[in-house]
Amino acid sequence: MLSIKNLHVSVGDKPILKGINLEIKAGEIHAIMGPNGSGKSTLSHVLSGKSGYTVTEGSVTYQGKDLIEMAPDIRAREGVFLAFQYPVEIPGVSNVYLLKAALNAIRKHHGEPEVDAMDFLTLVKEKVRLLEMDEKFLYRAVNEGFSGGEKKRNEILQMAILEPKLCILDETDSGLDIDALKIVSEGVNSLRSPERSFVMVTHYQRLLDYIKPDYVHVLAHGQIVKSGGPELALELEEKGYSWLEEQVAA
């Protein structure tokens, strides 16, 4: 599904990612952990096509296509979804309005007709229930005045409706109370399928109790310094990151 080879990324003159290698197969869940400022969000942004980053070396192939060459909206229509660490408020654009436009953009991209109004509402309401949200959120402006947790939940709602193939969750669990974490995790789990892959950026083992990853990677100083199974997360919880960072420095 996704193949990242020797990826180097700079912001201006400053190198941030320094040779990332990552292979993600369909149906897999990869957790990415690592200290603050190690480049986790940068990787998420580069995968979703945010401008301001320069790929200086390496490649990213998504479903056999060069991802870096694609415009962000095309990536999204091809199934790449980023749940933002800091979702953006869009005053004046309601959630349903955006969702309908997004869904229709995907359909158009695949040569399908626009979504039927009734089917759309049925789908949206079903997902709202899945995430135990109030239907009123649908008619509010995107993220405007939402609490931190509501914003995160709203990201997962969008994800559930757009049914992407590659879901990148950038610290979706940060700032969620335990009940919200459970609901969001159940939402994510309900989307698990052999055709869908997840990249979950997180600082907390707690999330991985609910969504069990196949692999855990540690990103430090722009490189993946260690990869392992779910047990690596437990080890990190116990020991922190410094022992790994020291290994790299050595």
Partner: protein, 439 residues
């Protein structure tokens, strides 16, 4: 006296005068001749005048716009279909003259007058006389004097005390002839505790022409008037529209000003507030190509306890230029005034420009007044967020711009007008795959 005048228009006046209404009314002839004199002396406003420094109207003198001999057999069906509000009383003016056939004035409640100004001069001259020129003086500036001398017709509304109108009133102003001069004078009188809403719609064929309108508004004690202005003139047209409002004690007035058309368009909105009266001025100006759109507002808080709320938003693209001059004056007597003014602008291209000048002049000491201005571009983070949700960049930009503008459209409480304005704004900022039901 020197024969040199600042304008070439007075030379035409003699041939036009016999066509104007109110020939048999000495007071009006007197008023017109004073206005002609005032205009002859000064001409149209010059950029040397402080209140006109951003807006140069000399284009009006470059060619001579002339009063159409008749409204002729103009084809106006398309305009009516597109702009005449269903479920409203309407006075339709074509090329500055009233058309009884096109207007809808049946079923007026007793005592309510909605008619053309020319007809009002014929049937209720005393009522017109006691109001015409009372909300604005010819000395205000050249356009007002010009209007008083030249006006060919207009809308006259009188709502008697306590009458609450069930339907809005529309003035539909259509200019079909090239190089036409359409000078209209409107008088709106809302008596004590009465309530009404009036829509002024200005449209025209894809020609150069000049609309010069003055609207005088009298909102009586505890009365309520909402006035809308939908300015969708041709992109080759000159538009001047002055609206002058007198509010009595406890009167409520709201204005919604949609300035979308015109090559050069200027609106002056001046309100005098009485004791505890309330004034809301909302505006949205959208400029493209080389349009120049100027909105000039003045709120005079003359008495205590007045409330004013002003929000103007502008979106300027290409080489368009917007001007916002908003003045709030709190007079010595106007203690406890509560006033807020806001102007927000979105520039969509590097060549677009806006001059914004909010002015607060406070001569009372116990007041609550504030103002704010912003000039900005679309936020890149928001554009990316929408793109990451499958929206193409152009639609994303249009969606954000539309959302910015729609805040003002949303304030329209007449459904048919709301939908009409919404369509116009959506047409400016088209978006793929959306459903406007969910705005």
């Amino acid at each position: 006296m020197s024969a040199v005048t600042a304008s070439r228009y007075p030379a035409e006046y003699e041939s036009i005068a016999p066509l104007l209404p109110g020939q048999n009314l000495p007071w009006l002839q007197q008023l017109r001749s004073e206005a002609l004199q005032a205009f002859s002396a000064k001409g149209f406003p010059s950029p040397r005048e402080e209140e006109w420094r951003y807006t140069n109207v000399s284009g009006i003198e470059k060619k001579l716009f002339s009063v159409p001999a008749s409204q002729a057999d103009s084809e106006v069906d398309d305009w009516l279909k597109a702009y005449q509000l269903a479920d409203a009383w309407s006075v339709v003016l074509v090329n500055g003259r009233f058309s009884a056939e096109l207007s809808t004035l049946n079923g007026l409640p007793d005592g309510v007058s909605i008619l053309s100004l020319a007809d009002a001069l014929a049937t209720q001259a005393a009522q017109v006389q006691s109001h015409l020129g009372q909300a604005v003086a010819n000395s205000e500036h050249g356009f007002v004097a010009f209007n008083t001398a030249w006006f060919s017709d207009g809308l006259f509304v009188h709502v008697p005390p306590k009458q609450v109108l069930a339907k809005p009133i529309q003035l539909l102003h259509i200019v079909t002839q090239a190089d036409a001069l359409a000078t209209t004078r409107n008088t709106i009188i809302i008596d004590e505790s009465a309530q009404a809403s009036v829509v002024e719609t200005f449209v025209g064929a894809d020609n150069a022409y000049l609309t010069a309108a003055v609207t005088e508004v009298f909102v009586g004690q505890n009365a309520d008037l909402t006035l809308y202005k939908m300015q969708s003139e041709s992109e080759k047209a000159y538009h001047f529209g002055g609206i002058y409002i007198k509010q009595e004690r406890d009167a409520r007035f709201a204005h919604h000003n949609f300035a979308f058309g015109g090559l050069l368009a200027r609106s002056d909105i001046h309100a005098d507030l009485g004791h505890a009266s309330e004034c809301v001025l909302n505006g949205l100006y959208l400029g493209v190509k080389r349009q120049h759109i100027d909105n000039h507002t003045r709120i005079n808080h003359l008495k205590p306890y007045g409330i004013s709320r002003e929000t103007y938003k502008g979106v300027l693209d290409d080489k368009a230029r917007g001007v916002f001059q908003g003045r709030v004056i709190v007079f010595e007597d106007a203690q406890k005034t509560d006033s807020q003014m806001n102007n927000r602008n979105l520039l969509l291209s590097v060549d677009a420009e806006v001059d914004t000048k909010p002015q607060l002049e406070i001569y009372a000491d116990d007041v609550k007044c504030g103002h704010g201005v912003t000039v900005g571009q679309l936020d890149d983070k928001s554009v990316f967020y929408l793109q990451s949700r499958c929206i193409d960049e152009e639609t994303a930009r249009n969606m954000l711009t539309f959302a910015f503008a729609n805040e003002m459209v949303d304030k329209i409480s007449i459904k048919s007008l709301h939908d009409n304005v919404l369509e116009q704004v959506l047409a400016r900022f088209p978006q793929q795959g959306v459903d406007k039901e969910w705005l």
